[in-house]
């Protein structure tokens, strides 16, 4: 979290967000504005990020949600917390597991649809093969943490600077 947070939140929607936050805390900035932030606009997972951190999963964020997002994505956030939220971000259907469909979504977003369907399914298969510890055909949080915490550059890449 930096000091710049609330200000940039205001900057997103100056007409919506009051400067004085002591009285009316219930203002939501729509996803369209969140997703067009320079920090997020090139991120293929921006929608997911917004959904995960927004209260009701629609991507519209209050200041608290906004702060949440950047506190998790900050450099200072602990590894496990990042892993937890990364899991949530990649869990597209919110069922608590990263299943093949989630993986397909991830790969497609990541590659902007440049891979053919076979390639995508091959990649998903491989991913499941590698990380699925209990062989149930989907990644649980434990599987995911186990895998992601060993990644050499997860910490350095999974953060957003504001």
């Amino acid at each position: 979290m930096t000091l710049g947070d609330p200000r940039s939140f205001c900057d997103l929607a100056p007409q919506l967000v009051p400067l004085d936050y002591t009285s009316c805390p219930d203002v939501k900035v729509p996803y369209e504005l969140i997703g067009s932030m320079p920090e997020l606009k090139d991120n293929p997972f921006r929608q997911r990020i917004a959904q995960v951190f927004s209260e009701d999963g629609d991507g519209h964020m209050t200041l608290d949600n906004f702060l949440d997002m950047f506190s998790v994505m900050s450099e200072m956030a602990p590894r496990d917390l990042k892993a937890y939220y990364a899991f949530k971000i990649y869990d597209f259907n919110n069922d608590g597991y990263i299943c093949a469909w989630d993986l397909e979504q991830t790969v497609t977003k990541l590659t902007r649809g440049e891979l053919s369907a076979e390639e995508v399914s091959l990649v998903c298969e491989k991913v499941l093969d590698e990380a699925d510890g209990d062989h149930d055909g989907r990644l649980s949080l434990e599987d995911f943490q186990n895998m992601i915490l060993r990644a050499p550059d997860f910490l350095s890449t999974f953060h957003i600077r504001i």
Partner: protein, 1098 residues
Amino acid sequence: MKPSKACQRYRSVRRKPSQHYLYQESLLLSNLDDSFNADETGDSNDPEQIFQNIQFQKDLMANIRCRPWTMAQKLGALRRAKEIVLKFEGRLTRTRGYQAAGAELWRKFARLACNFMVMFIPWEMRIKKIESHFGSGVASYFIFLRWLFGINIVLTIMTAAFIVIPELIAGQPFGSTASKTIPKEHMASAQDLDTVWSLGGYLQYSVLFYGYYGRERRIGRAGYRLPLAYFLVGMAVFAYSFIILLKKMAKNSRNSLASASNENYTFCWRVFCAWDYLIGNPEAAESKTAAIVNSIRVSGVVTVCLRVVANILVLLSLAGSISLIYFVVDRSQRLEQSKKELTLWEKNEVSVVVSLVTMLAPSAFDLIAALEMYHPRTTLRFQLARVLVLYLGNLYSLIIALLDKVNSMSTEEAATKNNTSHWIDPTIFSATRMAPEEEKWSTPGPGIGLPRNSTWAPEEASVPAYTLPLSEANKTTVYTQRPQDQCWETYVGQEMLKLSIIDMLFTVASVLLIDFFRGLFVRYLSDYWCWDLESKFPEYGEFKIAENVLHLVYNQGMIWMGAFFSPCLPAFNVLKLIGLMYLRSWAVLTCNVPHQQVFRASRSNNFYLAMLLFMLFLCMLPTIFAIVRYKPSLNCGPFSGQEKMYDIVSETIEKDFPAWFGSVVGYVSSPVVILPAVLLLFMLVYYLQSIVRSLKLSNQQLRVQTQNASIAPSVLYPAAGSQHSCSSISLNASPPLLTSHPPPAARIQTQEESSKRLQKDSDLSSQLSSAHSLTPQSNGTVVNLDSSSSRSGRVGTVAQRTPPSPQPGLSSPSSPPPGDPPPCSSAGDRRENRSCSSVTQTKRTEDVRSEPLYRKDFQQMDRPLRGPGLPAVASRGPRSHAPRYYIINERDSHQKTHPTFWPEGHFRMDALEDLVEMCPRTTRQAVSRAPQQGPSPQLSEEEEGAPRREPVERSLHPQCLTGLQGAAHFYVGDRSESRTLAPEYQGRVHFKSWDDGFEAPLDRPVYGHRKPRSRNFQSAQHPPKLRGKPKVEPSLTESDSMSAASSSDQQNGGDDRCLQVTRSQAKFPRSVRQLGKRKAISRQELIADLSDLICSNV
């Protein structure tokens, strides 16, 4: 730097076990109540409790960031925690309050200081800006550059403080001695641009180079030993670089978990860690996407011949570049000898050629690599390796050529002096040279400038006379004109500095031309061009991280190589790096796009550092070689007049230290000490090596265990959950039972694994090989020597005694133990007559219960419950519990056959471990029954493989079985009527039932049960449709199925609740308690029933 430190701090905070636990728990539970339950209880007046509560709240506050709560929750929790702390802290002593306040103040101050310090980290903001545009890959280049800058600053300080400044302050002033004066003939051109440019003239006779430093052993009033300092600092430069590099590498490898594990998550990482969330630039995002697509796509085309051609081309170009450099050095040498005045080009051609080669060859390699059509990643690796080899080859050919030149220089020098031909072997010269040398230097005494001049004067005078007879008159005149030019150290230093300068110029030029002007061209002319400049041919310059890093490494290698001969080289490098930092960052931000093949080198990656270390080592070699091999120049530099440069050390020890020190050093450096020391080192290395190996092994095993443990919850806790009621009693009775959960699970898994191995291995050996959870099973009998339970002496005794006992037949009910009531306990009877068996079985279960297996209190609880309940159970006989009773029965009878092995005392003592141990035993027994019913009551040797695999599956099964439907069990009964079924069949059926029952409630189906099933499908000749079979089975009676359904319903309900229990151990007791309360007494029979099972299973 600071953020990372801060991160570390937080991480270390989190690492404290208790907090970590808290955090884990909170992650899993994600509820607030849990952590606030303790708050209210802290209302008492016990100061210790208050203090603990406050500590708890403070922990909460410190770790609030670690919890996946929303901001509102966090704020609320924080507020509450602070309130509580404020409220209760007053009740404690005042000093504690002050302490806390002071700590808080200090924390704030430290944070402020931290923030303040960030401003002093050079280029922090710049790097962050780059990072946020181009991602961490590109930023890592700049961080590496900054780190190198730091090293060079230290090197500069070292050389400046100990060599340059003392020499400037206390040394002989410029012009006072021959080695510090510009010769008259050069005086005129000393200020010419080309002289200065080629580092001649004033620069040559300055502190920049080795030759300037005086040879007086002590300078100034303080008697500073400059030559000694020079030598020591020269060595310290290497030593410091080594130490700092290794330290950094060690730190990096500590930081990254990945280096320790060889687990392969390539695809996972490519998918989940691929996106750099820092990227905030559309172009960077685009090329990142391309990079990801590249990395995911696996290229299939292999064209061998092209690759061979490519490699040949690369080798040719490498050889070409090396020979070119050698040729250029040679040529420059010849030019120098033949010409008096050299043109600018001739003076600089060596370094220009080297720089050109280093700049152009990588691009050529790039083109060649396109031929090979490797996978991009492989291409990158090849490219890196080739470029590294090229750089090294360049440096080496340069230094070898230079040293060659040095060799001939000293030869010529000797030739002029000794009045002999040039072409005689240098060794003779050194021999002949020494004699006059020593005379000359011994007379004037060391360290006096004037006498030396005087000694030189006659020589100079005499040289022309001597050289007259020589054929190459012009050459010798050159030498006579500048005797003090013959300073090979200065020459090498000059070449290195020149190389460094020209390299810098080329870098600047390439950045400007290749990146900037190309960028301008592409950007502004693409509208008017025939094709799309931005996407087709010239495109924008790419920022090639790997190659740029290699260039930095190469640059640093040059510095290390030349630092001894030119003490100011590190200082120059500092300037160069500063310039490079600004230039590159500007170029990156203005006109570069990141490399498409993104090079995986994060900050925690040791790749750069390994290359740097490699470079350091290889660059140190020639320097050390030159120092050791060559005689220092006679008339310049701090070591002039000595035979070897390192003589200065021994000389100092001799003269300036007390005699005893000299003798000590003499002894220490004698082979008597050195050899054993080397041997000792070797032994140490070997020892450490073996330790590493064993650690690796244990690491591996631990990993297996942790994997099992992570799987275990799904295997075990459902079982634990299904025990709902039972555990409500048993757990209350013995809470530590909880701790015994994981081991069995682990053991089960390893059994599983070993069972796979069994197919090739012998039973015992494979069991032993799974070292952590030993389950040695001597033929047919079950002796479970769990590692966790092996702590108790009893198990050991069992292990010893059981082997003689039994083949399965003996431990089976067919040989009923004395005093065990009904004769219908034999397997056949039981199966034929179910009601009978049910009665007897229940009786036996009572036996089991009354056995010393459980704690006393537990027994007492059971007995009254069970006693009257007996008939009820009997009437309920065909219920699903019956088969379970079988299982217990089996164990029971087995125990009865060896009653002496189970003395009560032992059981009370190690109830836990015993409980742990029971499970496999019972299951094993249950399995061993299967073959028994077949035509051959005892297992033949060949068959043992199969049933031994069974218990493994079985050992999984009963845990789940306890809470489950009876279908499977009935099935077993049915199966017993048709006795011809293979043992695998039974095992599989159990699995089926287990699956059926658990697929729904179980969140994560178990690792274990998949594979066995598939194996069974293969091995047994039953159709894969078996899944539905229990329902189809006609022999099931109505009541059977009904009771099965009902019991499974009930118990599945329990399962669900208990599944949550398993989610967190902390919650376990509570939920169990709740469950226990909820259970009606009428169900307690069942509860107790199950509890037996569970206890024996757990």
